[in-house]
Homo-oligomer: 223 residues x 2
Amino acid sequence: MTMPTPTTTRRRTAPSSERRRQLIEAATEVIAETGLSGIKTSDVARRAGLSVGLINHHFSSKDNLLAETLRHLGDELRARWVRIQQDETLDTAEKLAAIVDGMFHPNVATPTKIAVWFAFFGDAGYRALYREMAGDFDTERSAAIEALCHSLKTEGGYDGIDSEALTTTIEALADGLWLSMMLYPDWLLPQEARRRMFELLATQFPRHFTGEGLGVARTDRLA
Amino acid sequence: MTMPTPTTTRRRTAPSSERRRQLIEAATEVIAETGLSGIKTSDVARRAGLSVGLINHHFSSKDNLLAETLRHLGDELRARWVRIQQDETLDTAEKLAAIVDGMFHPNVATPTKIAVWFAFFGDAGYRALYREMAGDFDTERSAAIEALCHSLKTEGGYDGIDSEALTTTIEALADGLWLSMMLYPDWLLPQEARRRMFELLATQFPRHFTGEGLGVARTDRLA
DNA sequence: ATTCTGATTGAACGAGCGTTCAATCAAGGT
DNA sequence: ACCTTGATTGAACGCTCGTTCAATCAGAAT
């Protein structure tokens, strides 16, 4: 029935979903390189190897393409997080460790993606969009981390822990480490940043964490 | 000699330095409101109550005005920091506390100013400019904090402190708290953020700090 | 008063860029 | 073969700014 694509010829048409993916990927790279203030539709099109008209055909406007780019980035992070949340085989400390690992995973904490996050954070014109798209996720994740801290406190018999305050600190430290990685990528590597996170956890939950990760010998099972 | 300015009439000319100040202030506000991607010379001029021509007269270009705006913000922070560094009456812990206080001082950690910092961080097109202008200061301050941590470690008899790692953590936490204050200003107030900083210090140097600030009863002497 | 200097204005200009759309093409259905 | 549908192209269009500059003005000096 369906003809196999002619082997050597590059297909000149593709389903909408693939073109959208290509354009979002190109937009991601261009935002990381030129910033939201400098991005041009012609640059994105050239990067994707497609014509400018396709942007408006598949996204109706440049602004919409940017919005979808942000949404795509958020979905990726959310999916990773949901997978952790729903994993019944993980105990409290393991979930917390998995969340932290997720934030500094090589597929997430790439220079390009971090730059795009901060581009949307940093530009007041797009910040409303960010809050609209990521705000719910931020608060959900916040609540989850707080619940985990609280469980660890009661289960582990830790006193004097303020779960809410600690959650703020954990998230802020993660954000700040991301910023450092972006500004001085040669000076702070994701691996090192991850260690700073676990050192913080180790000061609060010394019987569960070390600077390396989980205190109990256990390899990461999560991608 | 010099005529006193006519009392009720608003002066129609002013020295270059004052106009520059006015325009930088207006630019700061407009960047915070519209972002670097949305800023227009006409908006800045209107905000300052002056005409567009003056921007090019006093700054030669929009880009240059933005660069000077960033420089002005940096100078302010630097001045505060230098004053602390040179204050002979402060001991090690006091200096560290003063640096932290400086980062969350009401004149520094305003929503507007934080937004401008992140605007320059976040836009790849201006990030080179940021590094050029603030990079030296960043490394100087980093070195100073590390030296203070190291002193506190030896003077205070604290073991197992990695001054370099701790410095990274301190700075990253501060940056991350700034980000949280910007994204969710109603949820995280500077006062609260400051407390998170001192709680971190208290976990590392418990005989010198509490979550409130310096462990030894002592009011801030630094503005 | 007159002149000189530098500040100030804002309309006009022109480059840059997002968007449109008529024409073309690929591929599947009949 | 022919038709239909949807993808694709990129030149052309028009709007949005950043910049310029001739004209005006304020204030000081002579």
